[in-house]
């Protein structure tokens, strides 16, 4: 069995040989640093005006520091603003988000370009300079008559009703404010729920094997008898169960909270990936139904939204033969399921505590795809 200690020992035993050229370069750099320091000290002694300049620089530095401090203080102000929200208000906002029928916020009319620009600037001011609205937005309940030319928010649809005229700074700040508060509330409630369900009891290898089998059974319909070998490797933080069948294998990762975090599927002698695969968006949408079921089964949570992406080459074909299905779940967490066209099956599924991490991942992948001359395409509904 390969465990953490063995890996550490192996690293200790085989020291990495650093090239001699590196030693030399480092020695040169140290000399450079020493000379630089001496030179600076000498210059300070010879040129009184430099000291004046330095004094000026110090003043500038102090000014910059003060600005930084005020920015830091503003961030603290925002944190404080959110932190002091009473528990029942946090719960109220979280419930609103969870119970809303909409996946995302919407507006009764599109924001004008100018409004969007101002909103972006005000968001920075809100987050970094502590510029908050004077009042909170007017919340209305479902079916309530919307007063014309008055900004209000309908939580059950997550919809902002906007006046036809251009929004004022105060109104834009009210929108930003409620968005931040709702997001904070969901995060807080999610953390709380996690704390409550977190188990500190370490489970046995047999129990882990059972968890892994259950996951594979529910996701792929495989039975224990189909596996020739099942091995459990207990690590400090994330345990690993490998189930080897005749021609296929599953690797299941189990967290210290005893949750199945990830399941990977592989077929012996075959890769989950192929290059330049023809697979239409209509086919991707068809697969989506199956993926949604698997994600619901795997997480036991309600799906709030789905995004489907694939990396397309210049001809519009799948660059790697895989399609990514990204899900936002009701509690603010996320789940990613990757479909392999070669396997005709999902080959990887994993959960992430925070859906924002998934959004960041998508963004990073878009940038990387772009660098390689491909496009990360979103499948339209």
């Amino acid at each position: 069995m390969l465990d953490d200690e063995k890996i550490r020992k192996k690293f200790e035993e085989s020291a990495y040989i650093v090239p001699s050229s590196y030693e030399k370069k480092t020695k040169d750099t140290i000399e450079q640093i020493q000379k630089k320091n001496v030179k600076e000290i000498q210059m300070r002694g010879k040129h009184w005006w430099l000291e004046k300049k330095l004094a000026g620089a110090v003043i500038l530095l102090v000014a910059v520091s003060l600005l930084s401090i005020s920015s830091y203080a503003a961030v603290n102000l925002l944190r404080e603003r959110l932190r002091v929200m009473p528990e029942d208000v946090v719960k109220h906002y979280n419930d609103d988000v969870q119970n809303s029928s909409a996946d995302a916020d919407s507006f009764s009319r599109e924001l004008s370009e100018k409004e969007e620009e101002r909103m972006a600037k005000l968001r920075v001011a809100y987050e970094e300079k502590g510029r908050f609205p004077q009042k909170t937005i007017l919340e209305i309940t479902e079916g309530e008559v919307v007063q014309k030319e008055m900004l209000c928010f309908e939580p059950s649809e997550s919809k902002f009703y906007l006046p036809t005229r251009e929004l004022t700074d105060e109104e834009l700040l009210q929108i930003i404010d409620i968005q931040e508060k709702r997001e904070y509330s969901v995060q807080q409630q999610s953390k709380q729920a996690e704390k409550e369900t977190k188990s500190t009891v370490k489970i046995s290898k047999q129990q882990e094997e059972d968890y892994a089998l259950k996951a594979v059974q529910s996701l792929y319909g495989r039975e224990k008898t189909e596996f020739e070998k099942i091995s459990v490797t207990k690590q400090e933080e994330l345990d690993e169960v490998v189930m080897q069948g005749k021609k296929e294998a599953f690797t299941v990762f189990i967290t210290e909270e005893n949750l199945v975090e990830r399941v990977m599927y592989s077929v012996d002698g075959s890769s989950a990936h192929q290059t330049d695969v023809d697979f239409s968006e209509a086919q991707m949408r068809e697969v989506s139904t199956v993926m949604q079921k698997k994600v619901s089964t795997f997480t036991g949570k309600t799906i709030r939204s789905e995004k489907i992406y694939y990396q397309a080459n210049e001809e519009g074909k799948l660059a790697f033969g895989t399609v990514g299905y990204y899900y936002k779940l009701a509690d603010g967490s996320g789940c990613v399921a990757i479909y392999s066209t070669n396997y005709g099956e999902m080959y990887d599924i994993y959960v992430m505590d925070d859906y924002h991490s998934i959004e960041k991942e998508i963004k990073r992948k878009k940038e990387r795809a772009k660098k390689q001359g491909w496009i990360m395409r979103k499948v339209s509904k």
């Binding site: 890996i7 590196y22 994330l238 990387r368």
Partner: protein
């Protein structure tokens, strides 16, 4: 931290920073140069270091930033996304069962946490701070790296 202490620390940890740069850049010349750049930057910024005991981790962070910036600028090493939607490796097969060789041939997302955790003794939290990623992500990256090490090294470890 004064200059003497700074130089003493360089002498002590320089090899650790080299392997980190090497694991990101995948070639030794760039790794050598990047650490030198990072050392000069660190010296300039030394005044911003609040806790001396955090020096090694702070410097590691600078090395990582410089290495990543180098990739962006030079595009010498174009990051090839694994088919597996960024979670799998673009790997070159190491020639033998040397743990360093295997680790350094891994995709940087796996090699860097592996080196920090197993070879340099950082905790998961510290790695999370250095790499600015959640602890959960550190864990799953280590799990994947272990999987690779297991495949390549199991015989020699039994």
């Amino acid at each position: 931290m004064n200059e003497a202490k700074f130089i003493e620390q360089i002498d002590r940890y320089k090899n650790d920073w080299y392997v980190i740069a090497r694991s990101i850049l995948k070639n030794h010349e760039d790794a050598e140069d990047i650490v030198q750049e990072a050392l000069l930057i660190a010296f300039e910024k030394l005044g911003t270091l609040r806790k001396e005991e955090k020096f090694k981790a702070w410097m590691t962070r600078i090395v990582i930033n410089q290495a990543k910036m180098h990739i962006r600028k030079s595009r010498k090493l174009i990051y090839v996304e694994h088919p597996g939607e960024n979670r799998e490796a673009q790997m070159t097969e190491p020639e033998n069962d040397d743990i360093w060789e295997i680790t350094l041939s891994m995709k940087k997302e796996w090699s860097v946490p592996t080196i920090l955790y197993y070879a340099q003794g950082y905790s998961l939290k510290e790695i999370s701070d250095i790499l600015r990623i959640p602890v959960g992500t550190v864990k799953s990256r280590l799990a994947k790296a272990r999987q690779i090490l297991k495949e390549k090294l199991e015989d020699s470890l039994c």
